[in-house]
Amino acid sequence: MTPAIEINGLTKRFGQLVAVDNLSLAIPRGAVFGFLGANGAGKTTTMRVIAGLSRASAGSVTVAGISASAGARYRRQLGYLCQEPAFYGWMTGREVLRYAAGFYPEIEQPGRRVEALLAQVGLADAAARKVSGYSGGMRQRLGIAAAVVGQPPVVLLDEPAAGLDPLGRKDVLDLIESLRETTTIFYSTHILDDVQRVSDRVAVLDRGRLLAADTTENLLASSSRNRIRVVLQGASPEAGSLLAGIPGVENVAVGESRDGACAFTLRLAVPDAIAAVQLAVTALALAHGYAVVEARPLVIDLEEVFLRLVREAQASTEKVA
């Protein structure tokens, strides 16, 4: 099946600056795809190229199999919410959606659709007010409604929850959830909690380069399945060298020492060795008079995965330099 979005070798330069560097991604249909990166990583630039607002220096983008060069036919496949949604301030919320709906003549009963969307995003009561008086959260919700008014198969949301209070963020994430079954959602953010909550796939971008792209589950598992966190009561940091001697342990990172207990993170050569290593740790502790407080596979969140990927990329860049 053709991916919802296919990006091949996308590069975007602004003079000497390479904002996006040879990015290739395939976003399957129906995915809620989180696009992660720090500020300036190239997320917005990528989004703008996909939205057809910016031209790629090299590479290609297709949405639902249609090339970006197809112009309006291509943009009919997309709904786009930019980072700072801008609307005609003299229009009311209802007029904004009616204006957007007017570009999709195939919508049946556009008036009803507009009213339903206004209710869905919680703006029914404010629909007759000029958007120049809307708060940031209201504009964001109106922007999402405008992005989906044409029922496009793909929706691009650039930082949809940025600048919103917790309630507003929850509303936006709920809306993304409600789109999940019918629409492919490609959204950028640096709020990692949000990604972990709603995304089933994730890509991490750093300084224009793709560091990782996988399902959220795989990305978390790949970073944690070969690690064990061990806390030994009565042990000193030097016990790390003993742990490193356990067969199957690749290396040991010494963590915090507190109240006579010391923490270690063991990286295993193979993920299957977890049970054997746990047993060996218990045996080692008994032999040296330590009490095992904890010896379990490391559970990490997306934030740690993100930080590790970015740090590794930066370290490798520095090494090359």
């Binding site: 607002l53 969307l117 044409g150 029922q151 496009p152």
Partner: protein, 265 residues
């Protein structure tokens, strides 16, 4: 957000697109924007004020006893005093300097273009709406008010030639300036740069015209006002000027479309 969830997304549309996709929708937005943002009223007031200052000047000279030059109280002459050839282009230059730049700065251009709307459609809709509204605000309304004032101040009506052809000549010159403004807007980003470049361009053409022989002047689109007024009087005209005006306006729009198509929004 409430719980009455509806089907929000999800169907593939495969409609063909044309270079004018979204034109009607965008034109209707442009028209409403002219009216709703009070640009219409401001332009009409400015144009009418400037026109009336030309219309009543002879009566003011008469009332103040200014005898430095002969006073002409002929209604037709005083409608000509409006100076349509400079009033309309000047108002067109200032009234349309923000057509593209303001939308780009606000981000609404990017938003509109992220929908099925072609770039040529944006330019053509803006041109048509601007030409229509400049025509209404800088020609039709000032003319109606001026004629009413002339009737009251000079006790008569202007002749048909002054009533129709002079404003039409000014309108044609204004349309050229609007096309020029749009073309310039696709190259520069600030409103000041747009109006500055346009006025420089117009002044350069006017200055050049003064240096050229009569034979060459007829090939300048800036001669459209003289062409239209001469045509109205039944005086000899050079069709080359009309062709130059049509071709010049069309060329400006082609340049605008090509450049706008290449630029980042």
């Amino acid at each position: 957000m409430n719980a009455n969830s509806i089907a929000l997304g999800g169907r593939v549309q495969a409609n063909a697109s044309s270079p004018m996709t979204g034109f009607g929708r965008f034109l209707s937005k442009e028209v409403r924007e002219w009216v709703r943002t009070r640009r219409f009223v401001i332009m009409a007031l400015a144009a009418t004020g400037l026109a009336l200052s030309g219309v009543i000047i002879e009566r003011v000279h008469q009332l103040t006893g200014d005898t430095s030059k002969p006073i002409n109280l002929d209604p037709s002459f005083n409608l000509t005093n409006v100076g349509w050839d400079s009033l309309v282009p000047l108002l067109a230059a200032f009234g349309t300097m923000s057509l593209l730049t303001a939308e780009r700065e606000r981000g609404t251009l990017g938003w509109s273009l992220s929908m099925p709307l072609s770039r040529p459609a944006v330019l053509l809709a803006k041109l048509l709406a601007a030409v229509s509204f400049i025509g209404i605000t800088a020609v039709v309304i000032p003319e109606i008010v001026s004629v009413a004032v002339i009737r009251f101040v000079y006790d008569g009506f202007p002749h048909g030639q002054q009533l129709f052809w002079e404003p039409l000549g000014g309108f044609a010159a204004g349309a050229f300036v609007i096309a020029l403004n749009l073309a310039v807007s696709t190259f520069v980003r600030s409103q000041a740069a747009v109006v500055g470049t346009t006025l420089c361009f117009v002044l350069t053409i006017t200055a050049m015209a003064g240096l050229l022989s009569q034979d060459l002047q007829r090939f300048l689109p800036s001669g459209i006002y003289d062409f239209v007024t001469a045509y109205g009087k039944g005086a000899p005209t050079h069709p080359e000027t009309l062709v130059a005006w049509v071709m010049g306006t069309a060329l400006l729009m082609v340049v605008a479309v090509v450049q706008f198509g290449r630029r980042e929004v």
